[in-house]
């Protein structure tokens, strides 16, 4: 049924490939991934070709040898929150289950470019979370201790050292003086699109199908078990279905007849005009709801807090941008002279305890991975790793087990709302 793959695919990327292509005016580069027509049946169907969906597919193939997989995406791959985030990567969480999965992700990020043969531009430039109230300072000192016990290297830095690490910062306040910071030197950023593209290419190489421009419009179940999905390109049967659609998780769950403890909220970010290098770490100022880093192109990449209400438009409210910028210019006065180039929004999937959901569902064969909210880019490799195990075995492994849906019934929350305090 599937159309012949006439498009030439890329081979392995290497310095020799660059040299070879340089000799023939770059005429030989092929497509990074194939665009096949869907078959009528797959062992596993993954809905959503964001980072988490693609990583799930990749580790299904790599760790479990399951390659009869389709990743179905309504838009273009990486066009959801994966391509809209501010790319902060860190693993300095307070609760043990969070530290475990986020640090697994960070460790995988450290070697991801080599693993995927695709440069994801992982940049462990260091990450600082500023304490700007006494309360916040006490909170971060507690996190440093928790991280110590978890084996996640972080340390507390005093204002004097912060001044050297971040020269553009105004430590004195007056409203929010900088009292110190939680420093994770292994934290940093990566190129968001490249993470999605690298996984997509590797999945395609394993023979998996990535089907773009194909919205899933219905889920067919029989006897409490999943049978198929209806899509813009027809009905596709599957043994297992993984819903990995972030802000649209409630919509997909609704198709299968269950509800989730999720609300979909807009989160915005903005970038400035490019300027000369002035900031070589990531700085988060959670009390004032702002965080920034400088991209390789020189733009200041700025994010803030979420908007307040359910919104599926990928456009946020203007006053939240204003609040973010207003707050940041006290601590970073030089920002006040910058022109902002672009501003955009994504629809983030918020849970009550601000922790993700990797879980079986009331329908047998359906698994969900969602609830990453404002902070799931950093988790992509670890989440895919844990989700692949859940889907392959039908039961969660140690990384995913604490994040099941049953934690809400049991009141066993993994409360990161106080620890992180803000979007990122």
């Amino acid at each position: 049924m599937s159309a012949p793959h006439t498009q030439r695919r890329s081979g392995r990327y290497s310095v020799f490939a660059i040299a070879r292509e340089a000799m023939r005016l770059h005429s030989g580069w092929g497509r990074a991934w194939a665009s096949p027509e869907p078959r009528s049946r797959y062992q596993v169907v993954i809905v959503g070709a964001g980072g988490h969906g693609l990583a799930t597919a990749y580790y299904l193939g790599k760790n479990f040898g399951i390659t009869d997989v389709a990743v179905i995406e309504k838009g273009w791959l990486g066009g959801g929150n994966t391509g809209r985030n501010t790319t902060i990567i860190r693993s300095n969480y307070l609760q043990d289950p969070s530290a475990a999965i986020y640090d697994k992700a960070l460790k995988l990020y450290e070697t991801l470019s080599q693993d995927l043969n695709y440069n994801v531009m992982f940049s462990p430039r260091g990450l600082i979370m500023l304490a700007q109230t006494e309360h916040e300072k006490r909170g971060y000192l507690r996190t440093v201790n928790a991280n110590l016990l978890q084996g996640v290297a972080t340390r507390w830095v005093e204002p004097a050292e912060l001044g050297r690490l971040v020269p553009i910062m105004n430590l004195a306040g007056p409203r929010y003086p900088v009292l110190g910071g939680l420093y994770q030197e292994r934290g940093g950023t990566a190129r968001h699109d490249a993470v999605a593209w690298g996984y997509a290419r590797a999945c395609s190489d394993m023979g998996m199908h990535i089907i773009q421009n194909c919205e899933v419009t219905g889920v067919e179940t029989a006897g409490g078990r999943v049978r198929a999905v209806n899509t813009a390109k027809g009905r596709i049967e599957c043994d297992k279905l993984a819903m990995v659609v972030a802000g649209h998780s409630s919509v997909l769950a609704g198709m299968a007849g269950f509800r989730l403890p999720i609300e979909s909220i807009a989160l915005q970010a903005l970038v400035s005009e490019p300027i000369k290098p002035c900031l070589d770490v990531v700085v988060m100022a959670n009390t004032v709801h702002g965080y920034l880093s400088q991209s390789d192109k020189g733009e200041m990449v700025i994010g803030g807090g979420t908007d307040g209400f359910v919104n599926y438009t990928q456009r946020g409210s203007w006053h939240h941008v204003e609040e973010t910028v207003r707050a940041l210019i006290e601590t970073f006065p030089m920002l006040s002279r910058l022109k902002m180039l672009r501003q955009w929004g994504g629809i983030v999937d918020m849970t009550g305890d601000r922790s993700p959901i990797l879980s079986r569902t009331p329908v047998e064969g359906i698994f969900v991975n969602c609830g990453w909210g404002t902070g799931g880019f950093k988790a992509i490799p670890g989440s895919g790793w844990a989700m692949a195990e859940l889907v392959a075995k039908g039961t969660p492994g140690p990384l995913a087990a604490p994040f099941g849906l049953e934690r809400f019934a049991e009141g066993r929350f993994i409360d990161e709302s106080v620890a992180a305090g803000v979007a990122h």
């Binding site: 989730l260 979909s264 919104n311």
Partner: protein, 133 residues
């Protein structure tokens, strides 16, 4: 900017004057209810892509809670009404129906399909309670 007219004081309040309060018309399950009902009340949400009913507080105005109907995709506001009710007023429902043919008000919400009880859905990964897969 989102603007909602407060049904108490009549002020056309801008978003910055209002505090969002989440999904409206939740049935409040308390002591004595089933675990599933209690969980559903506390956590499960419609979170619809389309028409939704939600709670708002006129925080920087009269301070009172009210309810509003809105479309989460177009951000169109259908109307606001006082909070002392368990269902949206009929004329508002009619107005939404006229604007969104085929739309049905959400049925009495239940966290799980098929009317199965909470115990059937124990999703605890420990094998003893492992009723799935």
């Amino acid at each position: 900017m989102l603007t909602l007219t407060c049904p108490y004081c009549g002020v056309a309040a801008e978003e910055t004057e209002l505090a969002p309060g989440g999904e409206a018309h939740l049935t409040r399950h308390g002591p004595g209810s089933s675990d599933t009902d209690f969980e559903g009340y506390l956590f499960a949400r419609q979170n619809p892509r389309g028409v939704l009913f939600e709670r708002w507080r006129h925080a920087y105005g009269c301070g009172k809670w009210f309810l509003a109907a809105r479309d989460s995709v177009t951000l169109q506001v259908f109307g606001a009404y006082p909070a002392q009710t368990t269902a949206p007023p009929d004329d508002l429902v009619a107005a939404i129906r006229a604007a969104r043919p085929g739309w049905q008000p959400p049925a009495a919400v239940s966290a799980h399909p098929d009317g199965r009880t909470g115990d059937d859905y124990a999703l605890n990964p420990t094998p003893a309670r492992d009723t799935l897969a």
